[in-house]
């Protein structure tokens, strides 16, 4: 990640000098795409991870550790979704004059954040542990479907009027840096997921031990 940051600030050219067609009024700040895009990718990866464990929970004998893994991945999807929104808003302020413009992509990511927020409300609203896990697993499968739909399909194909630059050609250096950043952010997601799952499993083991005594 340190190398990615170094490359972003020292190696990448400003976006307009790189043949982006002069579409950016803040070409230096367009470097933020190196953080914005990988964050968005990790949201999708985290959502699919949570969906996979939710599916495992429903089909593989209702194992509580699957519920924990699914919950942790949703939490991280929400965190990376907030990071993607913040990095996008910073660029929006420089580019379009306001942090929030209700652009189709911004509206869709807002809906996605609401969907993730509803998951935590749902989780907090059910007392029974097994019922909570089952209901949340089904909800996660819905959230997983909505993530690529709201993040990519709706803004790309259903909302043609967008402030977001379309078909922009960046310098090839951007592609390489973004790929490295995606690898770094996926590693960060895996690390955070591992830590949170281990902490929750330790808590679960401790609670089971207390119940037995």
């Amino acid at each position: 990640m340190a190398l990615v940051l170094g490359a972003t600030f020292l190696w990448l050219p400003a976006a307009d000098a790189a043949g982006a067609g002069g579409v950016f009024s803040a070409p230096e700040l367009a470097r933020i795409i190196v953080l914005h895009l990988p964050n968005s990718m990790v949201v999708v990866i985290a959502a699919f991870t949570s969906g996979w464990y939710a599916f495992c929970y429903l089909t593989r004998g209702r194992n509580p550790s699957d519920d924990i893994r699914s919950k942790t991945a949703v939490s991280l999807a929400a965190v990376f979704c907030i990071l993607a929104t913040v990095t996008g808003a910073i660029f929006a302020k420089a580019e379009w004059g306001a942090y929030w413009n209700w652009d189709p992509k911004q509206s869709c990511i807002f809906l996605l954040l609401l969907i993730y927020a509803a998951y935590f409300v749902l989780r907090g609203g059910i007392e029974d542990v097994e019922k909570r896990a089952a209901v949340c697993a089904v909800y996660v499968l819905f959230a997983v479907l909505m993530t690529p739909l709201l993040g990519y399909v709706v803004p790309k194909y259903m909302a043609t009027q967008s402030l977001h630059p379309q078909n922009t050609h960046f310098d090839p250096a951007y592609g390489r840096t973004i790929m490295a950043a995606i690898a770094g952010f996926i590693g960060l997601f895996a690390w955070l997921q591992n830590i949170a799952v281990r902490a929750d499993l330790a808590r679960l083991a401790w609670e089971e031990h207390r119940c037995k005594q």
């Binding site: 990640m1 340190a2 940051l5 170094g6 972003t8 600030f9 020292l10 960060l188 690390w191 955070l192 830590i195 281990r198 902490a199 330790a202 083991a205 401790w206 031990h209 207390r210 005594q213």
Partner: protein, 49 residues
Amino acid sequence: MQAMMPLLIVALVVWLGVFSFIWSVDRKVSALEREVKEAIGEGKETVSQ
């Protein structure tokens, strides 16, 4: 390139802070796991936070 150096230093410091924080949490979770394992093995009733 020179104009970007202060921004790079700020970004690196922020990243170092985030990395150190996550690493410290990782170590705390490892210690908690060990403690829970030992407590369950010994049949204790409390684990230090």
